[in-house]
């Protein structure tokens, strides 16, 4: 047991640590204005316009969110100016979404992303997104709707779509990872205002930190298959009716009309597995092998699905279609000079030891050739949930 003098030293030490270190800066929740979403626009030549959604707590006020927008040159001075306009101290610890305008993204956004990285209050799971027009117009959607907290609304919009695998995850961490990866380029979702609602309009493709192209939503299915393990998503394929004549069901006395000239099949993905291999080092030829298990959800015309032969036939048709689509997509990426799939990583993995700069890879990528092989299995054609 410690006796007299030991106790004295202990008390002295505790007292001095308490006195000397002082207190941590208190940030009481109800005295803060919590920034939940930020939008950045290019305003004129040299300035950026920052718009923030501030969530604040007031027992008497009805509107819990407030939108403030100011102009400045750096994001930190934007914060200073926004703070002047607020009765509560603005803090960024609850930031959920950051929106960059397309015009700004075309010039490059890495410095603005970098400030997010440097702020320890901002989490890695912040969603980054691009807006088709002004970022402020997206942020201002919340103004009309009193009950809506735009920060969480945008966050839920993206999260819901990411969780149901309609979208590649656009978190700050994912963006950083792809950006700093020599063999991969980042992608972010593109938002659009439609009839006063925010909706996802496509995927913005980045070359380094600059936006260079837009991938429409219907192609995202193939990008997801290529880029990551994918367990959901639906896609429709259109075929000529002539090709399917052999398996079309007869009328059997009943009459029905065909609405479309073409025959459409809707399938969904149960699981897919993608392997990208460098098969020819000299000519830089990649083979993309996709194993794909799917369900047939809907057909626009009745098909004879009773026999295995017919199902096999449909499988082959879909395979052919997918091979073409995916090949087209890869060529599209190649022409844009972007690599969201991470083919560069495959290349780097195959040439062992040699270091390759991003620049070298870009020149190699230009001449790369692809061959796509899809193995599709229709697991189920019957009842779907």
């Amino acid at each position: 047991m410690p006796k007299g003098p030991k106790w004295k030293t202990a008390i002295l030490m505790i007292a001095s640590t308490l006195c000397l270190s002082g207190c941590v800066e208190a940030r009481q929740l109800e005295k803060l204005g919590l920034i939940t979403a930020v939008g950045y626009d290019l305003d004129g030549k040299n300035t950026i316009k920052g718009t923030v959604v501030v969530h604040k707590f007031d027992a008497l006020a009805k509107n819990v969110t407030k939108v403030i927008s100011v102009e400045a040159h750096t994001s930190k001075s934007l914060r200073q100016k926004q703070n002047l306009r607020s009765d509560q101290r603005l803090v960024s610890g609850q930031l959920r979404c950051v929106v960059y305008s397309k015009a700004l993204a075309k010039k490059g956004i890495i410095q603005l992303v970098d400030t997010l990285n440097r702020d320890p209050n901002i989490g890695n799971m912040v969603y980054l997104m691009i807006s088709e027009h002004d970022a402020s117009s997206i942020i201002n959607v919340g103004k009309k709707n009193v009950k809506l907290n735009l920060g969480t609304y945008l966050y839920n919009l993206i999260r819901q779509n990411v969780e149901s695998e309609q979208m590649l995850s656009p978190t700050l961490q994912d963006f950083n990872h792809s950006y700093h990866d020599n063999g991969k380029d980042p992608v972010l979702p593109l938002l659009k205002l439609e009839n006063g609602d925010v909706s996802v309009a496509g995927t913005a493709l980045f070359k380094d930190d600059r936006l260079v192209g837009i991938l429409p939503t219907n192609k995202l299915f193939f990008l997801k298959i290529l880029a990551e393990k994918y367990k959901s998503g639906t896609e429709e394929f259109g075929f000529n009716r002539e090709d399917f004549k052999s398996i079309l069901k007869g009328n059997e006395g009943r009459s029905f009309r065909t609405v479309y000239n073409k025959l459409f099949l809707e399938i969904d993905n149960i699981r897919s597995h993608t392997k990208i291999k460098l098969v020819d080092k000299k000519n830089v030829r990649f083979r993309v092998e996709i194993k794909f298990a799917s369900r047939l959800l809907e057909t626009t015309e009745p098909l004879e699905l009773g026999s295995a032969k017919n199902v096999k036939f449909i499988e082959r048709q879909i395979e052919k279609k997918m091979e073409k689509e995916i090949h087209d997509l890869l060529i599209f990426f190649q022409k844009k000079g972007v690599d969201p799939v991470g083919i560069g990583n495959e290349y780097i993995a195959h040439i062992r030891g040699k270091k390759i700069t991003p620049k070298e890879w870009r020149s190699i990528y230009k001449n790369a050739k692809f061959e796509v092989r899809v193995k599709n299995t229709i697991v189920k054609t019957g009842v779907i949930d």
Partner: protein
């Protein structure tokens, strides 16, 4: 703090009392000043007998029936020690002439019979003690299991234990506690299971106590534990005989003390305070669930309100967005900072608990209702506290009440206050500092020379099945290693694994 001083044993005075009755009476009166000492005289043929006793302590009807009546009725017998031993229908008679022995005998309720001129007199026990009957356990009530608890009488407590454990190896060693008031006590253990060292430590600590009076077994526990500065109790008292029986067969040692309604036992590690006998009587999986529930409640109770303070004062970043609105809105009405708000409400809860415990049962219920309504409803509406804090405080109060040991429950409620304050000063770092402090403190604590956090640190994975978790019986073949039992096995592990076929 408490000192282990080697006692310099004072020589006991051997002094025979006077052979004359009048002088004997004077001597006794001088020793027992202002007491209710009573003398009854008999005369026959010039022989005088005196019966000395303390009136309040003896059973008068048995004095009349078993001592006076035989002596008066038997005319023939000789009035001497030898003659009385023939006629008195009493099982225990002590022959003595030592004054000190007579005095201590009288205090215990003996009657001293002396014939004038004889060298010796007779001392016999006719004591009458005021006792209550055996009742249901009050402080450690159980839903399941035996409904019997210890009483204030040492003899009936020993009776209960002996009846529970009909084992010839059950030892009950005599001990005397206290220097002025010599209270009887018994050191209870199972010979061949309990560690010899443990028994001697216990005995030594109690016999070397230099204190005038020990009011009860709990106080005895405070006096002989290692660190009396700690908030954590290091030796457990219980009023459940079955708890002691179970503990004895795990190699623990217990102390029964006269006039004390509970039994002290040890070594009791930190986790044994979260064991209830109910866990043993339940099926193991239910017991396991309950025990894990209690340990979770412990952590909730200690850390929930400090976490609230830290998060709302410093770390607003970690609040999940669905909770942000409700938390912020209820906080925006409160005029105090979170530390003060929390301390205030914790204080109110403690007041309620204390008031409920002190008041008579009927009024106590009203206090509960008043507390529930006033604190719950009005405080929030008046903007005194946020309603989320009310839930958290209630949760942590409930959590601390789930601990089967009342002492440990109180200790847990107490350590919450410094953690809340330091959370208000340093936030999450403060909680971590305080928590580390308590962990280090617990690591350093000992219970009768055994590490306090025992099955967890130092890790005794076989013991985990007894105290931290509960496992089916076939895995509990070994007694807990922490207690260093002499006989390590409860049953043969190999035999337990054999499955007997029906046609064997």
């Amino acid at each position: 703090m408490f000192k282990w001083k080697k006692e310099s044993k004072s020589q006991e005075v051997f002094k025979a009392h006077s052979l004359y009755i009048d002088e004997l009476k004077e001597q006794l009166k001088n020793e027992l000043l202002y007491s209710d000492i009573t003398f009854r005289h008999l005369k026959k043929n010039g022989n005088r007998i005196v019966f000395c006793f303390l009136e309040s302590l003896i059973d008068k009807s048995s004095l009349d029936e078993f001592i006076l009546a035989p002596i008066q009725n038997n005319e023939k017998i000789e009035w001497s020690v030898q003659g009385f031993t023939q006629v008195l229908p009493l099982s225990v008679l002590t022959v003595t002439n030592q004054l000190s022995e007579i005095i201590s005998g009288l205090i215990e309720g003996n009657v001293y019979i002396y014939v004038e001129g004889d060298p010796y007199g007779l001392l016999t026990n006719l004591s009458k003690t005021v006792e209550r009957g055996v009742e249901k356990p009050e402080t450690e009530s159980n839903v399941y299991g035996p409904k019997i608890s210890f009483t204030e009488s040492l003899v009936s407590n020993m009776n209960i234990l002996r009846n529970n454990l009909k084992d010839p190896n059950l030892c009950m060693q005599d001990l005397v506690v206290g220097k002025r008031v010599k209270t009887k006590a018994k050191l209870v253990y199972i010979q061949g299971i309990a560690d010899e060292e443990l028994v001697t430590t216990f005995k030594q600590r109690i016999s070397e106590l230099e204190i005038d009076y020990v009011p009860g077994n709990t106080v005895l526990g405070h006096l002989i534990e290692n660190n009396s500065w700690s908030v954590f109790p290091q030796l457990m008292t219980t009023e459940l005989p079955d708890r002691i029986s179970i503990a004895l067969y795990r190699g623990k040692v217990a102390v029964l003390m006269d006039r004390s309604p509970d039994c002290l036992y040890g070594p009791t590690t930190f986790f044994s305070y979260f064991e209830s006998t109910e866990d043993v009587y339940m099926r193991w999986n239910m017991g396991l669930f309950l025990r894990v529930l209690r340990l979770t409640a412990l952590f909730l109770s200690v850390l929930l309100t400090p976490a609230y303070v830290a998060v709302l004062t410093y770390h607003y970043e970690v609040i999940p967005s669905p909770m942000l609105v409700t938390l912020g809105e209820s906080r925006s009405k409160v005029p105090f900072p979170p530390v003060f708000e929390t301390l205030l409400l914790e204080f109110v809860i403690e007041l309620l608990r204390e008031a409920g415990a002190r008041l008579p049962t009927k009024v106590g219920q009203t206090i509960g209702i008043v507390g529930g309504i006033v604190i719950g409803q009005a405080a929030v509406q008046a903007g005194f506290t946020s309603n989320i804090l009310i839930i958290m405080i209630a949760l942590s109060a409930l959590g601390s009440f789930t601990t089967p040991s009342y002492l440990m429950g109180t200790a847990i409620r107490m350590i919450r206050f410094p953690i809340i304050i330091i959370a208000g000063i340093w936030g999450g770092i403060g909680i971590m500092v305080a928590f580390c402090f308590f962990i280090i403190h617990l690591l350093r604590l000992e219970t009768l020379g055994k590490p306090y956090l025992s099955p967890v640190y130092p890790l005794q994975w076989r013991d985990l099945g007894y105290s931290f978790f509960l496992v089916p019986y076939q895995y509990l073949a070994k007694r807990p290693q922490t207690n260093k039992p002499v006989d390590k096995e409860r049953f043969s592990e190999k035999k337990a694994k054999l499955k007997k076929d029906i046609d064997e």
